[in-house]
Symmetry: none
Subunit: 211 residues, 4 copies
DNA sequence: TATGAATGAGAGTTCATTCAT
DNA sequence: CATGAATGAACTCTCATTCAT
């Protein structure tokens, strides 16, 4: 088997993920990241192998390890990058939505998130991984929830502060469900089910805004 | 030889899961199943080892393989049993709900599903497994959706037939989200978020019924 | 390369060295131990590979790991066995030497130790290993020194108690040197140098006895 | 390609250790040598990595390989330098000791050797390495033994020629034991055991001189 | 049938060494 | 000459699976 032993906050000296200086290196890393995202997305964390990731990037296994000293850290790094991107997107969205109707904000949020998940196919896989450092996980979720809360606070009408945390958490999960529906269900249901989901969430948030 | 990696639809003759006749055998299988559920729930499919499952059941590895010829088939068998139980429960619920208010039916559904998931801790793990035989997966989902559709068809008012498939699929996912919220999120959000989820779903279904 | 990660008292759950029940198993283990001793003796700890040890025992790598869960533990187990054998031998020698002349005891000790080291060619290699758990090392040395002290206490004349610990430690090292001289030096010097060593030690101990 | 394992007398063209002409180069080599000595002393030959040696010298690996084309040759070069230093010291000592009492010569030898070993912490590690080219090893030992023989030949009284080679070899080993005692044993024994060792050796040599 | 030792492919990881820049 | 990314053979260790007893 493999890393067999792994669990987020461990020993193993934690040599940090290296950022290369030379241009060649930066391209290499980009290729590695892309390959890793693809392989994780296709196979899941456990089934993905470092060997395949390296091969798919056209690199040697040693090269992969030069930049990402463990499989665990590779996953963590990818996840962190994707989280940062997502959080940034949410912030931008919150800014755009300020003073705009809640309904429109929800639609927009949905659209962007679907785009994001299509662009980051490993996101769900990496988020759901057991063995993630629970601290980091909590922090990440809080960050995202914060972004959504800000969004829901600035619309017209705003969602009442008291219900915002719970509704933000709920919204986050709805996104995930939307992604799953989009991807893996009976083809004939994809469209309708996602539509129902969107309508449901929008109605619920709007009702909260009015409440 | 041993191939350690095996994935869903393979060669490998698929010797069927043996069902024992003698009482000793049936007890043994029950113990193995229980142990497997526990280990899969705790560690996930990949991290679970056949050795640990056998040990926890107080059986030898050889014994485990007597009844479940591959790890894959063990997981599939467990999953199938749990799905059957769930489907049965949905059927019973549909019968009970016939002629009763939609609202009450939804609440009941929710309550029962939460109970079910608590009683079958490996259910989510086994459902989310990639590498499942996609055919079987589709059939299973269809069966469950069917149960929920029946439920939604018999209430007063009933959910319109046209929207039933999508709403059934959606409801199924909502359950999963509820389970996740119940289990892994920020403690302070569990209660409120689940409450929001339930209210949201109920309102949406009721609106559909009225529509 | 080798253990990459290793350092005596570590994490890694320390599954204990298994002692097999079946006869076949006991023979297997004996073959593995023999092979390990040979390989460690020839190549040293780091250069020895688990693969070669298994191959030389006519076993598979998996079989080796069934009984000795890490290379580290394999070395530790071998070392412990050899230490126990040596300590036992020293105890027997101390019993034999009680009441006999110191001079004869020293000669006998020397002879037996040379025999022992010839019979346990990995002994020096395993003793000198850096990365041994220092606690265990200290205990082992103390045990051996104790055996020699007892020997030196029971002869006629006895070595004075005050000097016994230091002289026992010294004697132990002289043995090692004798083994090294016996093994790896210029052929023409082996005999004479060992003779000088023996004479030197004997004279020193006798002088201590008279003092 | 890379063969990671290389052992003593091999193919590999043996590009010689480069000696730099420019001052910058000489400084660089000095830093590399110092770093290598430290790392070998701390970690042993096998565990030491070329990467760490280079890093500790503030150089790049490429730079290290410029001067020392293999790890093996690096170790050999260090060892050779240290041996040369030691031999030189012995020669000086032999000169000083000419016509002086044997007893004093022995004490002096001991004192200088302890100093030397403290100043060259990797000496023992590099000497004990298996896989050293046996020819080179023999030559080195012979050179050292020669130095000690010369010493023992010039004192008053001199050690008889016939016993000189064996006694020189023995003395050399005693030094090593002294170093080991100094370093790794039970603290409480260090002083006394080394004292016994010194007394023993001195008495033996003096007796030889008188014989 | 039950048992558990045996098997070996395969996974993660390291590090000596090379070579383009 | 210096640099450090690139390479890949080799290593330790795991675990699904088989099979002699």
């Amino acid at each position: 088997m493999a890393s067999q032993k792994a669990s987020g906050s461990d020993e193993k000296e934690e040599r940090p993920v290296r950022t290369p200086q030379r241009r060649r290196g930066r391209e290499r890393v980009a290729a590695l990241v892309e390959a890793a995202v693809a392989v994780f997305a296709e196979q899941g964390y456990e089934a993905a192998t470092m060997t395949e990731i390296a091969a798919r990037a056209g690199a040697s296994i040693g090269s992969l390890y030069q930049f990402f000293p463990t499989k665990e850290q590779l996953a963590a790094e990818l996840h962190a990058r994707q989280l940062a991107g997502l959080a940034e997107m949410l912030d931008a969205l919150a800014a755009e939505a300020r003073g705009r109707p809640l309904e429109a904000a929800v639609d927009r949020l949905f659209a962007r998130l679907v785009t994001f998940l299509e662009a980051h196919p490993a996101f769900v896989v990496l988020s759901e991984r057991r063995n993630i450092d629970p601290q980091a996980k909590k922090r990440a979720r809080a960050r995202l929830r914060g972004g959504i809360e800000a969004l829901l606070a600035g619309t017209v009408p705003p969602v009442p502060a008291a219900r915002r945390p719970a509704l933000a958490a709920l919204t986050l999960h709805m996104i995930r469900v939307a992604a799953l529906l989009e991807a893996d269900d009976d083809t004939s249901l994809r469209g309708p089910a996602v539509a129902e989901l969107k309508a449901m969430l929008r109605a619920h948030l709007v009702a909260a805004g009015d409440g």
